[in-house]
């Protein structure tokens, strides 16, 4: 099985999508280490259905889905794999930081169910249409989304005082939060 991404494959998929889903692609990146397509947020379901069902592509397995915090905006990252065609594809969707809402793909690839719950847990994406969007790893009553860059570590949780009992002098920080 070939897992190494090939820039020419991205170009091929881009050609298919260009005719299959008009207006679906925002931009294409051909960098040898991270070739990926940037998909329009409204078209993500259409693109994913096309990638899965087109006989020439048949991306039947979502291997990874996660989030990125890029500062002014957030990104959802998708990595799909075609077991039959032996190829992979990486996709990104940018969403605004204030309103990180995006359509779910959990009914297209069932493995997205927990991926999207984790992404919600860590970044606070709201996946519209997800059947059970709860926190996956952290407790239900946790506040904030830890993998966002502006997240502040809590010093207490549920009545537990979690401040350090010993601080090295040079690392003394404000513990009032």
């Amino acid at each position: 099985m070939k897992y190494k991404p090939d820039p020419t494959e991205v170009e091929e998929v881009q050609r298919w999508l260009f005719s299959g889903v008009p207006g679906g692609i925002v931009e294409m990146h051909r960098e040898p280490y991270s070739p990926h397509l940037v998909i329009h947020a409204e078209k993500i379901r259409e693109v994913c259905l096309f990638l899965r069902d087109k006989p020439e592509l048949r991306f039947d397995y979502l291997t990874h889905q996660s989030g990125l915090d890029l500062g002014e905006k957030l990104a959802v990252v998708y990595r799909v794999l075609s077991l039959g065609r032996k190829r992979t594809l990486a996709m990104r969707v940018y969403v605004p930081r204030e309103k990180p809402v995006i359509d779910t793909v959990s009914d297209i690839w069932p493995s997205a169910g927990w991926f999207e719950r984790e992404a919600f847990d860590m970044f606070g994406f709201h996946f519209t249409g997800h059947p059970d969007l709860r926190r996956l790893l952290l407790p239900e009553d946790w506040e904030g989304f830890p993998l966002r860059k502006d997240y502040v570590d809590p010093m207490r949780y549920g009545g537990i005082d979690n401040r350090r009992t010993y601080w090295p002098e040079e690392e003394k920080v404000d513990e009032t939060t």
């Binding site: 570590d153 949780y157 009992t165």
Partner: protein
């Protein structure tokens, strides 16, 4: 109790001691610990209970329920989500109960001190008797901690303590003279 040949010490088949000593001896010789591992320290805990460490020779055998356990060995990283569960397990154990904090993580957060979800020391949620340093501690270190707990139990006068607590109106079986 002085160690000597059992036949020499009880020639008539009669042993004179007091009840507290007998009870303490019984308790320290059957220190059942809760089968509870959280991270890589649990591997060393298993190794200690295995044939080479052989914790069984001190009467310490694992129990799968807190209601039958005397000793809680917190082996591994305690996350904030797990902290409530650790406390609940501790509360379910019958008195008298003892706690060993095994490894850097449960002592103070250790390697994951800077993690947002990690409890910085299990002593923030339950009282700890012995801290075992190491990342993870070797089976010998954990065995040493068990022996130390046994020494403490040998010194304890549990019945006298309980009576004292009843006179004072405090909760019975409360931990004292630590």
């Amino acid at each position: 109790m002085k160690e000597m040949n059992i036949y020499q010490s009880v020639p008539e088949g009669v042993l004179v001691t007091n009840v507290d000593k007998l009870l303490s001896w019984g308790r320290l010789s059957s220190l059942w610990y809760l089968l509870f591992g959280l991270a890589c320290c649990a591997i060393e805990l298993m190794q200690t209970g295995g044939p080479r460490g052989d914790l069984d020779r001190f009467g310490a055998v694992p129990r799968a329920t807190p209601r039958q356990a005397d000793l809680l060995i917190v082996a591994g990283t305690v996350t904030l989500k797990m902290a409530e569960r650790v406390r609940r397990l501790y509360e379910q154990m019958p008195e008298p109960k003892y706690v060993i904090s095994m490894g850097s993580c449960s002592n103070c957060g250790g390697l994951f001190d800077y993690g947002y979800s990690v409890l910085r020391g299990v002593d923030k949620v339950i009282p700890v008797d012995i801290y075992v340093p190491g990342c993870p501690p070797r089976p010998e270190a954990l065995t040493e901690a068990i022996l130390e707990i046994q020494k403490r139990i040998r010194r304890e006068k549990y019945l006298a303590k309980e009576e004292e607590a009843a006179v004072e109106g405090g909760p019975s079986g409360e931990k004292a003279d630590r």
